[in-house]
């Protein structure tokens, strides 16, 4: 510091200016990248919307006829996965945050995080070689005994590669995400609330029902939405496990299953050519829009109660 003048002008020093510009540029690159994703996807999918039915698929379908079963399959598989994963995830989160011994809890949390780190292609391989043959006898039993129930209608798939198996694999994949978020929220329940409930003579479950769950509701909702977003976009596990068909069907155990957008792209993209590529990119654009909406909603719920929920 040679003269006081320099330090007075310090906010405008050259180093400061360069550095802050660099930081700002990085931030703007992210905005540009996300805009570019939207722009390039739209640009590449425009030809698909006006494509001739014969170019879209061998069965002469309009783009709408092509996309509707895919959207249905995507949403259906994701919702099924969520129905399986949500109660178990909340259970695990509660177990880790309120039941397991303190010292064990940390390790258990790490083990659950490990589930999230396993690559999806390994889940796919496991789903097809271990899970599908394992659950097939149960499916046969279900169809034989509860076949009158529309979800379990026959004929049963002989391989077990049905939408229910996919949903189980997806559930295993999204469970760690939901668990991690819920755990954070549950841990932030004010201790005084819990202790007050205990002091009133509440059992452990009553503490959870009266203090922990109401406090964590926003967090649970947003965790659910994030899990849903992940399930919607999951590709390889679905592509490898499901035996796909172009149908809209709620049946869980048959060999004809509605496939998902992401799996459909992965299976058909390597061989696609001409307008076929554009059609697949257009379906990808629709997937992008769906997941964008789901994620944006989830983030809005979190942000609205940010200082409250702590899940971010």
């Amino acid at each position: 510091m040679t003269s006081p003048r320099v330090s007075l002008r310090s906010p405008h020093r050259k180093g400061d200016r360069t550095f802050s510009t660099l930081a700002l540029t990085a931030g703007i690159i992210i905005l540009v990248a996300l805009a570019a994703v939207a722009i390039f996807l739209v640009a590449k999918s425009i030809p698909a919307f006006s494509a001739k039915p014969s170019d879209i698929s061998p069965d002469d379908m309009s783009f709408l006829q092509y996309i509707v079963p895919l959207v249905f399959g995507t949403v259906w598989a994701a919702i099924l996965a969520l129905v399986i994963a949500l109660p178990i995830s909340i259970g695990i989160a509660l177990f880790i945050s309120h039941y397991a011994p303190r010292r064990l809890a940390r390790t258990l949390g790490y083990v659950v995080d490990l589930l999230a780190a396993v690559p999806s292609v390994v889940y796919g391989l496991w789903g097809i070689t271990v899970l599908a043959p394992f659950v097939q006898p149960f499916y046969s039993w279900l169809v034989d005994n509860v076949g009158w129930f529309p979800l379990f209608a026959g004929p049963v798939s002989g391989t077990g590669r049905t939408v229910l198996t996919v949903a189980i694999v997806l559930a295993v994949m999204i469970m760690p995400i939901i668990t991690a978020l819920c755990r954070e929220v549950f841990l932030q329940t004010p201790r005084l609330h819990e202790e007050a409930a205990l002091a009133l003579g509440a059992t452990r479950w009553e503490v959870i029902r009266m203090a922990v769950l109401p406090f964590g509701r926003a967090g649970i909702i947003s965790a659910t939405m994030l899990g849903l977003g992940r399930a919607l976009g999951e590709t390889m596990a679905v592509a490898m496990v499901l035996s796909p068909a172009v149908v809209i069907s709620f049946a869980l155990l048959q060999s004809k299953n509605p496939t998902t957008i992401a799996a459909n792209i992965a299976l058909n993209f390597p061989e696609a050519h001409g307008v076929g590529v554009n059609v697949l990119i257009a379906t990808g654009l629709i997937l992008f829009v769906i997941t964008f909406i789901v994620n944006a909603l989830a983030r809005m719920v979190i942000n609205r109660r940010k200082d409250f929920s702590g899940a971010n």
Binding site: F19, I92, Y99, V121
Partner: protein, 353 residues
Amino acid sequence: MSTPGFANSRRAITRKTIWATVAVSTIVSFAFFGILAFAGNTAKLNWVAALVVAIALYMVLISTLSAIVEGRRKSIDRLITTLLYGSFALAMVPLLSLLVTTIVNGAKRFDLQFFSDSMRNVVDEGGGGLHAIIGTLEVTAAASVISIPIGIMTAIYLVEYGRGKLAKSITFLVDVMTGIPSIVAGLFAFALFSLILGPGIRFGLGGAVALSLLMIPVVVRSTEEMLKLVPNELREASYALGVPKWLTIVKVVLPTSIAGIITGVVISISRIIGETAPLLIICGLTDSMNYNLFMGRMTTLPVFVYSSYANQGTGTADIDRAWTGALVLILIVLVLNLVARILSKVLAPKGTR
């Protein structure tokens, strides 16, 4: 929960009773299924069904017992406790099954040849995944080179500089970016490069661009969290000594939080190294070595696993290679996670945090 017992109840179920209930339900259930198997109704002992029935039996027994002895409220409490323990055990089943299957099946081809050969001109037995391992390392390294500076600088902008609408919208979009399906990232890279370089483009750098799109938000989020942990007193002390803001960030803020930042970066790498879908689209598939990121198809390990599974020849050579590839992938991810944990321990600033 420091006092899980029920001090106010006169009669309570003791630990001994609980273990007795566990034993009774297990014995009854396994005896039932054992008799079924012995009588020839089922081919062999169906231990999964036996276990499920045992747990259900235990839940019924303990809650009835508790309802009689301790009252309805405590009976519900016991039921829920069992359910929570059960849900955790249930979640461990797939993890264990997956690890065991991968290790057992992957060990068959976990030999030197797998790490020294590519698949060039290999028809049945033999061959290896060297080309895929090299591809994965190169693509991941390139993605890291793109993502880490952008991610860290964005986090610095958000924490140290960002005010107002722009910072808010960047935060929101980073959050939303975390949820982009990986296959959409691949389609984006394909759409971008096919417009520039012509249709049907497949090359390694495109994969790196797609992966960066998935990696940047993870880096930003974790770095942001770490920068926020740096106490403001440190910054203010530095300003008070006349140090300019950028030097404060470089010399004070970053060194304080470097452990967390590196951990976050390593974890983000372990996230993208297993990505399959985007690389299937933009990197393509080849049986030969390709060291050049800028030209030609490039196989990566996850795509190698997928294609070995999807295009199986006769015999088990392909599926064995797929499992070994999966094992190598899991090992890489495990090692990265371990490195992250160790680094965060070693580099953590001493003292309270």
